[in-house]
């Protein structure tokens, strides 16, 4: 039932991946990082509402936690977190001006989910 006197709750977006570009020139790191000039890191944000839908990529535990939260708000909802990450290759000059190409793991969010 709609209660006209109460302000309607603002709709919050569900957990999903959002764009986040890290530009190395913004932090002055472009003098030693040769390539790439920056990279798409992404981030996860959004609600994990009850009941958890399949596309929210949740675990059984997250479903239980969300269920408990729906009857006891002292227990927090599941969190929207990265569930899949991928590496990034950087070509850079080190302290001795030697050129290094290195693969750094878990730098890009590929998928988000409720955990």
């Amino acid at each position: 039932q709609v209660r006209p006197n109460k302000q309607r709750k603002k709709h919050k977006a569900n957990c999903k991946r959002h764009s986040l570009y890290v530009d190395f020139s913004d932090v002055g790191w472009n003098d030693w990082i040769v390539a790439p000039p920056g990279y798409h890191a992404f981030y996860c944000q959004g609600e994990c509402p009850f009941p958890l839908a399949d596309h929210l990529n949740s675990t059984n535990h997250a479903i239980v936690q969300t269920l408990v939260n729906s009857v006891n708000s002292n227990i927090p909802r599941a969190c929207c977190v990265p569930t899949d990450l991928s590496p990034v290759s950087l070509l850079y000059l080190d302290e001795y001006e030697r050129v290094i190409l290195k693969n750094y793991q878990d730098m890009v969010v590929e998928g988000c989910g409720c955990r």
Partner: protein
């Protein structure tokens, strides 16, 4: 520098110390103790750019400028077991070039102390550029050919004795072509890095048929005509290693 990464909200309340600590944390994530500050003269070898284009998971799709055929199957195979590729130029102050009776030898010393102890070198290649030599045809069956031998120095030469070396790789090349040659020097680099044996460097021996073709293999600045192109043409040692963290470098895939 880290200021740009900190979100607008709450930025003003962060002190310089916090920002500095934040940057150090980021650098440590990259395996660096402090922020590198390379000079303007720092040279990035084209080969490393090519390797980046080939193995980077985030490289631009358009890399049509990449020289075709510059990366062999060998580098692809080496990178398939590594997550780090490092390049080194030799210390020119320690080089020792000598030439006599159709043979040129050059001693190279590469300082590999910057390779962290926890990194395991899976392979290494010594890359040498040779520039086309146009010479008059000769009657000999081996005319137009050079042999390049790469040795590891096991014990340096003393006052009365010759150095003790062992052959690492050898190749017969034609001097009518301009081309980079890659020599497998993995056994020596592994001995120096993993086994902790002393690094006395390499000896590259070039057997050439005549004086005209002596300059074909560019093992020394003195054999290269142009000073401005030397930084990109000089010998390069490339090591492939793994630090035990994360995935290996692989050929770029469409995402």
């Amino acid at each position: 520098g880290a200021r740009g990464l900190v979100p607008q909200i709450g930025r003003s309340s962060l002190s310089q110390d916090v920002l500095h600590a934040f940057e150090l944390r980021l650098l440590s994530m990259f395996g660096l103790k402090h922020r590198p500050s390379p000079s303007r003269s720092a040279v990035v070898p084209q080969y490393m750019m090519d390797l980046y284009s080939m193995h980077s998971v985030n490289a631009e799709q358009n890399n049509s400028n990449r020289p075709k055929g510059s990366l062999g199957k060998g580098s692809e195979r080496s990178a398939s077991r590594a997550n780090t590729i490092r390049s080194f130029h030799h210390d020119e102050s320690t080089e020792d070039l000598s030439s006599s009776s159709g043979k040129t030898t050059q001693r190279f010393l590469f300082n590999l102390t910057s390779i962290p102890g926890e990194e395991f070198v899976t392979s290494a290649e010594l890359r040498i550029f040779r520039e086309q030599v146009v010479s008059s045809p000769s009657n000999g069956s081996l005319a137009g050919f050079h042999r390049i031998n790469v040795h590891e120095i096991i014990r340096p030469s003393g006052s009365l004795q010759e150095p003790i070396t062992r052959l690492l790789d050898t190749r017969l090349v034609q001097h009518s072509l301009s081309k980079w040659e890659s020599f497998d020097v993995s056994p020596a680099v592994t001995r120096w890095t993993a086994d902790g044996r002393p690094n006395h460097g390499f000896v590259v021996e070039i057997v050439h048929p005549d004086q005209d073709s002596k300059r074909h293999v560019r093992v020394s600045r003195s054999l290269h005509d142009r000073e401005d192109t030397w930084p990109q043409m000089r010998p390069l040692l490339v090591t492939y290693s793994h630090d035990g963290k994360g995935n290996v470098l692989h050929s770029r895939e469409k995402r």
